[in-house]
């Protein structure tokens, strides 16, 4: 026993080294898997404060670009106003109900919250975005993040009380459902980690006619993203000879270099949808097991 203590004492530097390495690697691998960092709550609050201070200065440099984007979005929203639409029949009056749940059977499925990007990188293969809104402001995991011009930015993966971290589309583990606007075919958006201006759309069968410049939108089947938000445009069609699917190079709709004001979109049905999905999978698995027995 004494010898063991002597041994530990003698090599205590080496043991300290091993322990610290172990802790560091544990942090790293658990984060890569679940995007849950140890002590992130505290760290996120601190880095968030500092990033906010820095952001106050940096804001001025992106104001012009930001202004242009917001102006364009406002313009598209103006076009949606009810007063733009006339009704020819003078007997019937068109009324637009603004109550979130109405008797007509429509209800509000998505709602948006504004947020500001306080830290963002594009030079890594795993890029995260820090936003200045957190769980106290109603941000939850898996909410969608779109840019001020309505193009997709990423998905929230981690929240602390006042700040949240979103996984950017520029992240090699990111997978977003998308569809082609023209034909409506679904695919998955991924990033190969090479060029921050181009994403990849996979799973589009070769039978479909695709042209350069086709628009790619978020798919109606996505749980986090409302349908119809811009992901990007087709920049190059790569004919992968080994499969029956195209690999499409997509020019991102978002300019990730100049992210500033973003919207965080929440799906009110998200919990129910994912729960149902999980439940279905579980039930199928159970059936299989019963049958094999």
């Amino acid at each position: 026993m004494r010898n063991i203590f002597l041994f530990i004492r003698r090599y205590r530097t080496f043991f300290t080294f091993l322990i610290l390495q172990g802790v560091a690697l544990w942090f790293l691998f658990s984060y890569n898997k679940y995007h849950r960092a140890k002590f992130l709550g505290v760290a996120n609050e601190i880095t968030g404060r500092i990033n906010t201070q820095y952001n106050k200065v940096e804001d001025y440099f992106t104001l012009k670009e930001e202004n242009r984007r917001i102006h364009r979005l406002n313009d598209s929203l103006l076009n949606l106003l009810p007063r733009n639409f006339g009704v020819r029949d003078t007997i019937v009056q068109m009324v637009r109900d603004s109550v979130s749940v109405d008797t007509m059977g429509t209800y509000r499925r998505y709602y948006s919250r504004p947020a500001v990007v306080v830290y963002n990188t594009i030079n890594s293969q795993k890029n995260y975005i820090q936003l200045n809104r957190g769980s106290s402001q109603g941000i939850r995991d898996n909410m969608a993040v779109v840019n001020s011009d309505g193009s997709v930015v990423g998905v929230v993966v981690n929240v602390s009380p006042n700040f949240s971290q979103a996984m950017s589309l520029l992240h090699v583990q990111n997978k977003v459902n998308a569809s082609l606007k023209r034909s409506g075919d679904m695919g998955t958006i991924e990033w190969d980690g090479v060029n921050p201006q181009y994403l990849q759309l996979k799973g589009i069968p070769k039978s479909i006619d695709i042209k350069k410049g086709d628009t790619v939108l978020t798919s109606p089947y996505s749980f986090n993203f409302p349908p119809g938000y811009l992901v990007g445009t087709v920049a190059e069609i790569v004919n992968d000879k080994s499969t029956n699917f195209y690999v499409l190079k997509i020019k991102t709709g978002t300019n990730f270099y100049s992210l500033h004001q973003v919207h965080v979109l929440a799906n009110t049905d998200y919990d129910e949808q994912t729960r149902l999905n999980k439940e279905t999978k579980r039930r199928i698995e159970e059936n299989k097991r019963h049958r094999s027995e």
């Binding site: 390495q21 690697l25 830290y119 980690g193």
Partner: protein, 177 residues
């Protein structure tokens, strides 16, 4: 200014420089980040004990990690160079302590050639380990090799530029406190 206060300032300065300047500037190449923050560990005084050295290294790395959301990545690399540092210093500095009375590693304290070797070994070790850990989860082998060489070259360039631009004032250990 006391040694501890000076090093705390240095720590804050290096982390801020890394997070807000070097990680933000448009890069020469997309994935080649200029790293400089570990110069803090290279510059720590000789008198820091080995355990403390590693703990400081770990904290330095982890602080940077929480800023750029890679918890553990830089912490692991920093702990490694903090562990190796005393061995290198033992090899590269004169054995006779009467001739050797500087407080921290610098070109003046160690002479240019040994200092360059010291910096080169620690930098390449840091980058190799860092890129290796990144590569384990994603990437190709050629990408790994190119990235190690390129980031090391850029870091060395930055470090030597800094050494030439801001020569640190020589501080001697004295008997008078």
């Amino acid at each position: 200014m006391s040694e501890a206060v000076k090093n705390i300032f240095r720590f804050i300065l290096f982390i801020l420089l890394q997070v807000y300047v070097l990680n933000k500037v448009p890069h020469l190449h997309r994935f080649i980040t200029p790293y400089l923050y570990f110069l803090f560990i290279i510059w720590l005084p000789f008198s820091v004990s080995r355990q403390w050295l590693m703990l400081i290294g770990f904290i330095t790395g982890l602080t940077l990690d929480y800023f750029i959301m890679t918890p553990g990545l830089h912490a692991a690399a920093c702990t490694l160079i903090a562990y190796v540092r005393p061995f290198l210093i033992n090899i590269l500095t004169p054995k006779d302590s009467s001739e050797f009375n500087y407080r921290e590693p610098s070109p003046a304290a160690m002479r240019w050639a040994p200092y360059a070797v010291y910096v080169f070994v620690l930098t390449s070790l840091h980058h190799t380990y860092l890129v290796l850990l990144e590569w384990m989860s994603f990437g190709t082998f050629t990408g790994f090799i190119i990235k190690v060489i390129a980031t090391t070259a850029i870091s060395l360039l930055l470090i030597f530029t800094i050494e030439l631009l801001f020569p640190r004032k020589l501080k001697f250990k004295t008997n008078v406190a």
